[in-house]
């Protein structure tokens, strides 16, 4: 139409001349925040990211994202105590996302599909000795290799895995899974030397011309206490007990087994005893449930299996198939003290699970500082000795496999920096993506998918895996429960809710604010489900 009447009839598009952006006093800015799961993961996994990939069914990409931080997803998907789920914001909505289950699903799928690890970086001609093939050692070796260094991994045992193999019972971690992942791990080009115990790390380093060393020797020495007992009394420690079971020559324990201690190892020992045929497995612990160091889920499963507890009790004597327990009470500070009351507990054997110590004799020729039986390390896991790093149970920290894997990774990067003669780079963390920043209306309520548990009967008598995995459908469902806290997941809300059409799609899931027209109303930020938009004041 050319002959439009003046003023009363207008052509489309003419409003673009009116740049309403000038009204704005605040502007929306897209941000990435630290999701609580990532924040809580000791292995430093980018959980939110691999869940994002898993949500679209792209499991290999998800797995590849996963193994950038953790080379043992199938293992961790079983034995990790998943602090990520404890931290998950979804807890406040319905239930945490089953991150651990999805991790295991991805790990198992990778084994099934034979996905291989990424190729190492070009050779740096630097040599690193890794002592101990437990979680920290394996992790360190893996990351060092991928960084292009030559790695020799030594361990006194006959097989890889350390405590994962010799401490954790098979019903929690099937050996084929462990073998598959450790095998794939070392296949990235790690020189493995088993049945070799390092007695003098300095000499080992010199002879092998290693530029740096990582100590992942773990805590293999069972603590013992003197218990008055008769000859007939059968007393052994949990570490040895579990190691023997793992090696396939389980000791005879009899019908009634008592386990002394309150950690996860105590539970493992008791549950293993049940599976070895003990009709009674009793755990004796000097404090109460609240103060028990073992993880709650483990205890629940144990009680489930018929393990019984003797809370607030200590073993004072063990004679003739009978243990004399002293009843304890907790004082004001919560420490147990004897009451002078005693009772008897019939037992054919007593397993001591009173904690482990680290054997650091290999350090005697070095000037590495050892304090309270463990190696002092810096933030990058560097010990005081030149080029010596350590991690896992050998350093001051909570002792879990996941933490050990995190140590291994951190140490690897520390070593990498050291070898390059640089200071280790500390990446600043994003601000935490808190629940308050979420607009949860957009998330439909959905219950968590529980992993199907084997029926109890079977569980008590065998070492079959207790906890089953997720079907693909369940895993997908579970992954899609992720709220993607603090990180855009392309829901198009900002694009749709802008009253001024001032949000642009700029391709591959990214958005931009058209500042020519954005009036700064803030609806996009308010309606962003995951809190990935901040409103920042305009500088006037």
């Amino acid at each position: 139409m050319n002959d439009l009447p003046f003023a009363i009839t207008l052509e489309v598009g003419s409003s673009h001349a009116n740049r309403t952006g000038s009204w704005r006093v605040e502007r929306p800015v897209y941000v990435d925040r630290m999701p609580p799961c990532n924040n809580a993961c000791p292995a430093g996994e980018n959980i939110q990211q691999w869940l994002f990939d898993a949500e679209s069914g792209d499991y290999e990409t998800a797995w590849r994202q996963l193994v950038r931080d953790n080379p043992l997803p199938a293992v961790m998907g079983r034995i990790c105590y998943h602090p990520c789920e404890t931290a998950c914001n979804r807890v406040q909505l319905d239930e945490a996302v089953g991150i651990n289950a999805i991790e295991r699903f991805l790990g198992d799928l990778a084994i099934e599909r034979d996905w291989t690890m990424p190729a190492p970086a070009p050779d740096t001609a630097k040599r690193v000795l890794v002592v101990g093939a437990g979680p920290s050692g394996l992790s360190a070796a893996y990351h060092l290799r991928l960084l292009g260094h030559q790695v020799q991994l030594v361990d006194g045992a006959a097989k890889l895995g350390g405590m994962m193999r010799y401490g954790i019972p098979a019903y929690r971690l099937p050996r084929d899974v462990l073998d598959a992942e450790t095998g794939r791990l070392v296949a990235v080009g790690i020189d493995v030397r088993l049945n070799h115990t390092v007695v003098d790390v300095e000499r080992e380093r010199r002879e092998g011309r290693f530029d740096a060393v990582f100590l992942g020797v773990g805590a293999q020495l069972a603590r013992r206490v003197e218990i008055p007992s008769g000859d007939s009394s059968r007393i052994l420690d949990a570490v040895t007990f579990l190691h023997q079971v793992a090696d396939g020559d389980a000791p005879q324990l009899g019908r009634r087994v008592a386990v002394y201690g309150g950690g996860d190892t105590a539970l493992d020992a008791a549950r293993t005893a049940r599976r070895l045929g003990a009709s009674e497995a009793v755990i004796v612990y000097r404090r109460n449930r609240e103060r028990m160091p073992a993880h709650g889920t483990e205890l629940d499963e144990a009680l489930d299996e018929g393990i019984t507890m003797r809370w607030l009790s200590t073993v004072s004597r063990y004679e003739a198939g009978s243990i004399v327990l002293e009843k304890m009470r907790l004082n004001g500070e919560g420490y147990p003290e004897g009451t002078g009351e005693f009772e008897e507990l019939g037992a054919d054997s007593l397993v001591l699970a009173l904690g482990q110590d680290t054997d650091l004799s290999l350090l005697t020729t070095t000037d590495v500082n050892v304090d309270d039986g463990v190696v002092e390390v810096s933030a990058s896991m560097m010990a005081s000795g030149d080029g010596i790093f350590a991690g896992g149970d050998a350093v001051p920290s909570e002792r879990t496999a996941t933490i050990a894997i995190g140590h291994g990774k951190r140490a690897a990067h520390g070593i990498d920096a050291y070898l390059a003669g640089q200071e280790p780079v500390v990446v600043p963390r994003h601000e935490l993506a808190t629940f308050e920043r979420l607009n949860t209306w957009y998330y439909a309520d959905a219950p968590r998918t529980e992993r199907p548990e084997l029926e109890r009967a079977r569980r008590q008598s065998s070492f079959d895996e207790i906890v089953g995995g997720l079907t693909e459908q369940n895993a997908l469902f579970e992954a899609r429960r992720c709220l993607s806290c603090g990180n855009c997941f392309e829901c198009d809300n900002c694009f749709g809710v802008c009253p001024d059409n001032a949000v642009l799609k700029v391709g591959d899931g990214r958005y931009e604010i058209n500042l020519d027209f954005c009036k700064g109303c803030g609806i996009c930020a308010h309606e962003c489900p995951c809190g990935a938009i901040d409103m920042v004041p305009e500088l006037i």
């Binding site: 409003s15 949500e55 829901c491 059409n501 009036k519």
Partner: protein, 341 residues
């Protein structure tokens, strides 16, 4: 209801889009190729709910008619902020005549299209609450009664905003406006009988009547699409919060609209031929004070000289709606999202 349920618990249910869904299953607003019927550069206030509602509804209508659409607009905020000479924000064929005659003008447009044999072109008329329930009511009722082929959309912001927030026939009880000040023993608007326009429309027995808010886009777009499947007179009543007139934060426009629904004060449902056929159930029932306290127009009900008695009366109104429409009955939910089915 015909909407395909979305099975993704993460977001697909309620968010504008979802990368995990086929384009066809996402909202029209998530599509870069949407019409943007109401284009940027318009002069609506920050966070204007009406600007949002108009783009939502007309883009959906454009999609439903493959772009064969003519819109008639009554006088009011929408008209003033969208077409101040020399700039128009409309990307569609658009006509503004007067405040009270949009339904009749639309009838004329429809008649002209019919006589010219252009059946493919559809007509939408739109007005604010004043242009609908007050000054335009006569023409609207006539259009309904004749069953002219027009979809009439009311963008309800519950007062005369264009002239400075005066009370309209759609202003809720106790709300402060420039002509119902928050003073005296009965502050704010009277507790009248109200004028339930959607039910009045249903009383005409027309093919399709629905209510919606800017807070549930899937629902709103679905209703526009279904409305366009019918011929004859149809009515869509959309709640569009006005930050200026309601005294709410500009970034809470959608949030406030959502609470209007979640409290039960604004029942969201649809009806065919005078019979309610679907209801959007309340997902998280919310007491009215949570809704009221976000709005300056109700400020006089709170604080030390607050009026819990009035809040209680408003809660009663919400509860009546909940009972009347079964707003807590999940089986009645329009399955516009994956939370159901």
């Amino acid at each position: 209801m015909t909407r395909q349920p979305v099975h993704f618990y993460q977001v697909g249910s309620f968010a504008v889009g979802n990368r995990l869904l086929d384009r066809a299953e996402r909202t029209i607003q998530s599509d870069e190729a949407r019409t943007d019927s109401l284009d940027c550069g318009h002069r609506a206030c920050q966070g204007c709910g009406e600007a949002l509602g108009a783009r939502y509804a007309l883009d959906a209508a454009m999609r439903a008619t493959s772009g064969q659409l003519i819109a008639v607009n009554a006088t009011g905020c929408l008209e003033v902020f969208s077409t101040p000479y020399p700039e128009t924000s409309w990307r569609i064929a658009w006509l503004h005549s007067l405040f009270g005659n949009a339904p009749a003008v639309a009838t004329g447009v429809a008649a002209a299209l019919k006589v010219k044999g252009r059946a493919e072109v559809r007509v939408v008329a739109q007005a604010g609450d004043g242009g609908t329930v007050d000054i335009g009511f006569g023409c609207l009722s006539g259009m309904f009664e004749r069953n002219d082929d027009v979809l009439f959309i009311c963008y309800d912001n519950e007062a005369y905003m264009n002239t400075g927030v005066q009370r309209s026939g759609a202003t809720p009880p106790a709300a402060r406006t420039a002509t119902t000040e928050a003073v005296g023993p009965d502050p704010g608007n009277v507790f009248g009988q109200g004028k339930d326009m959607a039910r009045l429309a249903m009383a005409h027995g027309i093919a399709y009547v629905a209510t919606a808010t800017v807070a549930d886009l899937h629902d709103l777009e679905g209703k526009v699409e279904r409305a366009m499947l019918h011929h004859g007179a149809r009515y869509l009543h959309i709640l569009v919060p006005c930050p200026l007139g309601w005294g709410s934060a500009s970034n809470e426009t959608i949030h406030v609209a959502r609470l209007a629904q979640e409290t039960g004060l604004f029942p969201v449902y649809e009806a065919e031929y005078g019979v309610v056929t679907g209801v959007s159930a309340i997902r998280h029932r919310t007491p009215v004070d949570e809704y009221l306290s976000l709005q300056g127009r109700y400020r006089h009900l709170f604080g030390e000289h607050g009026r819990p008695d009035i809040i209680a009366r408003i809660q009663d109104l919400a509860d009546e709606n909940i009972a009347r429409y079964g707003l807590l009955d999940p089986s009645r939910v329009l399955s516009t999202n994956g939370a159901q089915s």
